[in-house]
């Protein structure tokens, strides 16, 4: 069989500064080995800073992070008696406790279960039961949600952390005072729990008493051992845990760093982490990659409203920032940002959702740096492709597959489509997960022959740059014609009167499926006729929405993707049975 256009990897020729055609295998057998090496090399440098909206802050050095996470590992193994491979859930917004606990779980040889702190008790119960987590580390703001569900899970111990953890006493007292009495976000805790400082003290004491070397917990871990269960499927159905191994994450770190290498000075970078670390994008890029290169990580607990980031930009010489389209957009609507864009900024990376053309262009004009857009999935740890840091930017492109990754575009029968034709994007590489936790059927549906089927439809150009067209399962078939909701959404979003839009397909007696648009108007008085008339100017007839529905807001994921499945479910629930 002749090599397909994808097997020829045309993208390698466009790596620019990046010369390696394939990546060498990671130097470390497991994540704790890499973390420990970084901690030794950068011991006295600041590793993490939490910056509150009012500028109050606390920091930990690399040595402190290492010592605390060692103590936490000992606590998990000795005090709680957890076995290697036990799942431990971590449910907190960005704060200093996050790296300490996450690294501690990995060093204990346990499996990290990242959990969204905004989850409802029902979602938490599903995730805890599905993962079989035996301990949970949760932020005090949301710990009350555990009360009703704890009995139905395997969780034996609740460890409570706080946002100003590791702050000096006065700022900590002020922040907690404001949270308790002004914002009223600290609920009383009825459940049995231990606070993180106490757990760390216990762990440190046990370590000394029993003369434990925490390295003993992880020394024998290899690339195939499980590191994290990263839950996904928020946009498709019930959440399932992607099994990410130490090898998956180590490889993906190497791949991501390779793409940014030209803009990274070891030990000198300051990265702003505004996206939540429990999400795979910030977890791999901000937490793991930048820790390994000795960067200072400035974490903001919540980037909304966007003014929360002002102090971080004021007080720290930010050199890297990762974000999603909405975050970059919001920053550029702020005068304090546009009047004095961060001078030391070298690069920005975007993922999570499509980066709008206008946003990328304006960012370049304001900051003088480029937003490199990438593409990835939870199932691939996450990075699959990235735009290179040099060369001409390609608008709307998700860039080139990262080194060591095979990408192909296939049709419904898994046959490669010709160059330039849309096909489902499939990925094979060392970053692709082993499968979904305890779901062999789902795994078999998703990974075939080692190829991860992303469900995203893309096209490739002759240079090997990819562009996402849409989600395969969101494709709408109108009288046999394919309509991609993204295309319709992009057109409607061009209207000045439109703030936000989501497009889905609904069953239709005449055409099989019909296009339906949900529009959040920017101004009052926008009518269905106006929207349809505008669409008629830019789209073929069958792509024009048959119906337009106006709403105040759209359901979205934590990173700002419109949840089309929720729109569909809502629409269906309104139809007579």
């Amino acid at each position: 069989m002749p090599a397909t256009v994808y097997e020829l990897k045309p993208w390698v020729a466009h790596y620019g500064a990046l010369t390696a055609r394939e990546l060498p295998p990671p130097r470390h057998p497991n994540l704790p080995a890499l973390l420990s090496e970084a901690a030794t090399r950068y011991a006295d440098q600041i590793a993490f800073t939490t910056c509150m909206p009012n500028g109050m802050h606390g920091s930990l050095t690399y040595a402190q992070v290492a010592a605390h996470s060692d103590a936490f590992a000992v606590y998990l193994r000795q005090a709680l008696g957890l076995a290697a491979g036990t799942r431990v859930a971590l449910q907190t917004p960005n704060c200093l406790a996050y790296p300490v606990v996450a690294f501690g779980i990995l060093k204990a040889g346990c499996v990290l279960v990242n959990t969204n702190p905004l989850y409802t008790p029902t979602e938490m119960e599903h995730q805890f039961r599905d993962s079989g987590a035996e301990a949970v580390v949760i932020v005090d703001m949301f710990a009350d949600k555990l009360a009703d569900i704890l009995a139905r899970t395997n969780i034996k111990k609740v460890i409570v952390v706080e946002v100003p953890q590791f702050f000096s006493p006065v700022p900590r007292a002020v922040i907690r005072g404001v949270m308790r009495w002004w914002n009223k976000v600290l609920p009383p805790l009825s459940i049995d729990h231990v606070r993180l400082p106490q757990a760390l003290a216990e762990g440190a004491a046990l370590r000394q008493q029993l003369k434990i070397d925490p390295a003993g917990y992880w020394r024998d871990l290899g690339h195939d051992d499980l590191a994290a269960l990263q839950y996904t499927g928020g946009t498709t159905g019930v959440a399932k845990g992607a099994m990410l191994s130490h090898g998956n994450l180590l490889n993906n770190m190497e791949q991501a760093i390779a793409m940014g290498r030209s803009h990274i000075d070891d030990g000198k970078e300051v990265v702003l982490t505004a996206l939540p670390l429990y999400h795979i994008f910030a977890f791999t890029l901000n937490l793991l990659c930048f820790y390994s290169v000795g960067a200072r990580n400035v974490m903001v607990p919540s980037p909304r409203p966007i003014q929360n980031l002002q102090r971080a930009f004021d007080n720290y010489p930010i050199t890297w920032i990762s974000g999603v389209n909405t975050l970059f957009n919001a920053l550029m609507n702020e005068e304090w940002f546009t009047a004095f864009p961060p001078r030391q900024l070298k690069a920005a990376v975007a993922g999570g959702a499509a980066l709008q053309h206008a946003v990328a262009e304006r960012w370049q004009r304001i900051t003088g740096t480029r937003i490199a857009e990438g593409y990835g999935l939870t199932e691939s740890s996450p990075v699959v492709s990235f735009n290179p840091m040099s060369g001409t930017p390609r608008p709307d492109s998700i860039g080139l597959p990262v080194p060591g990754t095979e990408v192909s575009l296939v049709d419904d029968h898994d046959q490669p489509v010709p160059l330039g034709a849309p096909g489902e994007l499939i990925v094979r590489g060392p970053q692709v997960m082993a499968g979904y936790w305890q779901r062999p059927d789902e795994t078999a549906n998703t990974i075939k022959d080692g190829w991860l089927h992303t469900g995203d439809v893309a096209v490739m150009d002759a240079d090997g740059y990819f562009r996402i067209v849409d989600r395969k399962k969101d494709m709408i078939v109108v009288s046999g014609f394919k309509v991609y909701p993204n295309e319709v959404e992009d057109v409607i979003a061009m209207m000045d009167e439109v703030l936000d839009v989501g497009v889905i397909g609904v069953t239709d007696a005449k055409t099989g499926e019909a296009v339906r648009a949900f529009v959040v108007p920017q101004t009052d008085g926008l009518t269905e006729e106006q929207v349809r008339a505008f669409c008629h100017q830019h789209l073929t007839d069958y792509k024009v929405p048959k119906a337009v529905e106006f709403r105040r807001e759209l359901p979205k994921t934590p990173v700002g993707k419109v949840l089309r499945k929720n729109l569909k479910a809502e629409y269906q629930s309104r139809q007579p049975a």
Binding site: M56, S168, V178, F340, A358, V359, D500
Partner: protein, 308 residues
């Protein structure tokens, strides 16, 4: 009126509050204010063109007797008060702009106030010899600028200390405002009961109408909504204590008491009206912040893309 001790205490509190306000600012904030100097100029225009004219017009329209008219015109000719900065802070306005406007209007007060008083008093055929105490004007500047600068330096030196000072200053600000509001009715009920309606209208109206006119002029001169609200507060809020001092230095006995009436009433009511306006402005700003957070990217040219 407040006693001497209370006045001194209030002065110290004002410095502490301004320390807190300063701690909320960066030097960048002032550079932005200077980059768009129109705001400061419009503020000066409001302060020394609109307000004195408004004072004069109200005096004529309401048919105030000479002594009261003097008080009202004097009130209109005053520079911006320091409290405007506190209200701007709480209304989430542009604090650096507010402080710059207060500083500028106070700086030029030594020259402008006698000039304007002379002009408007002459128009009404009133005595036009006033003593404007330059020393006290300088004191206003010191109380405003020094703590603000110290606060800014504190914040730059250590953000934790800065944020704490800001919080304490803000809390103190709320305390002082509440104290003034809650104590002024019991203290002044006799005065309030005997004051005629026209005087009320003058004392309250000059502040409120001043804010409205300041806002309209700013909008007309294309200031953004947040700056317009800041200028509105700055325009309406005059330096009451300075007016009182000028009256005390200029007039004697019975005349002094009569001229004092409007500055005193103004000082009482402006706290109340500004508080209400501040709560309202704060809601609007919060709503705008949220809307901006979610709004679409602007496709127009970038005007402020200058790295500094």
């Amino acid at each position: 009126m407040l006693t001497d001790t209370e006045t001194k205490l209030l002065g110290i509190m004002m410095m502490l509050i301004m320390l807190g306000m300063g701690a909320s600012l960066t030097f960048k904030d002032f550079r932005i204010a200077f980059k768009k100097p129109q705001g400061i100029l419009i503020g000066l225009l409001c302060q020394y063109a609109i307000m004195p004219f408004l004072g004069y017009t109200l005096a004529v329209v309401l048919g105030l007797p000479p002594a009261l008219a003097i008080g009202l015109i004097l009130m209109g000719c005053m520079p911006g008060g320091t409290t405007s900065n506190i209200f701007t802070y709480f209304s989430k306005g542009v604090l650096a702009l507010s402080i710059m406007m207060t500083v500028c209007s106070t700086l030029v007060a030594v020259a402008m106030v006698p000039l304007l008083l002379d002009f408007y008093s002459g128009l009404k055929g009133l005595p036009s010899e006033y003593t404007v105490p330059a020393g006290n004007v300088a004191q206003v500047l010191v109380v405003l600028i020094v703590p603000t600068l110290i606060g800014m330096v504190l914040r730059k030196w250590n953000p934790n200390v800065g944020a704490t000072v800001e919080l304490v200053g803000g809390a103190l600000g709320i305390f002082v405002i509440l104290f003034l509001i809650l104590t002024w009715v019991p203290r002044n009920h006799v005065l309030l009961a005997t004051t005629p309606a026209a005087v009320y209208a003058a004392a309250i109206g000059i502040g409120l109408v001043g804010m409205l006119l300041g806002y309209l002029l700013s909008k007309l001169l294309r200031q953004d909504p947040r700056r317009s609200r800041t200028i509105a507060l700055e325009t309406g809020i005059q330096n009451g204590p300075l007016a009182v001092l000028i009256v005390v230095l200029t007039f004697k006995d019975e005349m002094q008491q009569q001229v004092l009436l409007i500055p005193v009433l103004y000082s009482l009511f402006i706290v109340l009206t500004s508080s209400a306006v501040t709560v309202w402005f704060r809601r609007i700003t919060t709503r705008e912040d949220l809307a901006r957070d979610q709004s679409k990217v602007q496709t127009g040219p970038v005007s402020a893309a200058v790295s500094g």
